[in-house]
Amino acid sequence: MNFLTYLINGISLGSVYAIIALGYTMVYGIAKMLNFAHGDVIMIGCYVVFLVMSGQGLHPVVAVLLSIIICTLLGIAIEKIAYKPLRRATPLAVLITAIGVSYFLQNGALLLFGADTKSFSSVITLPALKLAGGKLTISSTTIVTVLVCIIIMIALTLFIRKTKAGRAMLAVSEDKDAAQLMGVNVNATISLTFAIGSGLAAIAGVLFCSAYPTLTPYTGSMPGIKAFTAAVFGGIGSVPGALIGGILLGIIEILGRAYISSQLSDAIVFAVLIIVLLVKPTGILGKKIHEKV
């Protein structure tokens, strides 16, 4: 039964990674850049929920909605101010800027909210599910997390396939210049991508903090980097890839922590990243990119 519990916890953590990984994968697919600050948007979202719930005493649903709105706006602002002017710059410049934004959010939060750890109370207050005569308990957070992840995946897939904006995203990720010539508003599409990714980050943040209820300005960076690992694992640019990569990584992390070493669990996750990039740099579902000579 222990193993089953670990597995379920792994899937739950993996679902969070999958939602965060979506943000990386969509932005990478469309803007061809690693949005290093994505993990820190999560942290900002968590602080919003925390402050609204504990400070204002508002209903969790209101807090979450507010957090989604603020993160979405933050994502759009980051793109407009920091990334958009660099669209024709070298990748090195863009990457350094993204690191700068990440660092800015972390240290801004440090000044605004302080360095002390806030204990985050779960927004999900349903009773836990008991199975097999009470031997197996699944917390409501776990159930909600997995359900939310599934809903988001389905909704996003439908959005990309069925709506005009979604198809514009596909077109821009294939060929920015050609899409522009075909009348796609590239700037608006990129903004939309950042908006969706950041909104999802807010949801992921709430779920993450509900499961691991400690909040500091650095809360976002580790799950962020791990979710990027998940995105690479699944194949960057692919929505189902983010799901598969996220779930697998979550399971690996929890099992590694349980059976190998709790202190080495991060090292194990990063080792996975390195191995994946060595063996199959394009990930499980990724496409190969040819360089034109």
Binding site: L86, A89, A93, I96, L111, P281
Partner: protein, 358 residues
Amino acid sequence: MAKTTKKLIKKSTGNQLITCGMVAAVYIAVQIMIAAGAMSSLMQGLLVPMCTYSIVAIGLNLCVGYLGELSIGHAGFMCVGAFSGAFCTKLLAGTISNSVLLFVLALLVGTAMAALFGFLVGIPVLRLRGDYLAIVTLAFGEIIKNIINVLYIAKDTDGFHFAISDGNSIRLSEEGVWLINGAKGITKIPHLSSFTAGVILILLFLLVVFNLVHSRSGRAIMAIRDNRIAAESVGINITKFKLMAFTISAAIAGAGGVLYAHNLSTVTATPANFGYNMSIMILVFVVLGGIGSFRGSIIAAVLLTLLPEVLRGLSDYRMLIYSIVLIAVMLFNWAPKCIEFRQKVMARLKKSSGKGEA
């Protein structure tokens, strides 16, 4: 009009002399200030860290500026250098009494170990490009830190004892000593670092990187950065030269780590010492000083270390300022509007100087 295209390249040798002279001048000035009692002990305490940051920034600049690859795991190589160097010192402190020899040995060991790790990490990492490479160097830095935190090595009359994760499993006899004690790190390291040693190392590594980038191998490294496909087409072995630059860069960071460790009595693999923040801080020095300019790296390292200490009120905002510096420098260099603005200013300056000549 012809003048704008006639942008001549500065001669390198003069450049090198200026930088070395600058370092030497600062060294002499500091020595005079110390002798005259004009330097607070707080400032004196900053001298070795300043040298450390300069050295690591020189190493990282080789990687970012000349190899053209972003590493955000250089703190990891510093960490390797710091721990292997301090380990060596602890091991030999009983047998070698000459502190200069002891420190030189620690430097050699630390640098060599960092080079080895740079080489081993470089083999897989350098096959990747851009963003992937950056994130893997970050991952590597975290792994190193993680592993050192669960590593226990001790020595007593029975010889060496090793353990991973569980330090309590080691039963030491009475005269036994801990060499690496897990998350507690290495303790009671002899204070072997000095400002003089730091400056000598800076000059040494400046010489190494200057000579390297102005040699056949350096040109090959830059050729790969400028155009990989063209470099291949003229017969340059991409893997070999990338690996060479990365290894040398890691080795220099390792030497910085040795200097850093021997300035502290206890070295631990905490995020504050060798974490992501340290890597970013060094990157800020490199970016602000000018990517590709070793002199700039040193100046930025020194100024940005001094600044928060001089303006005490600023220290809370230090990290925030660093992040803004990163973004602002990139936008200034690359945003179309900024480029336009710069060209306008340049044109105006040229016009006025042209009038002056006429």
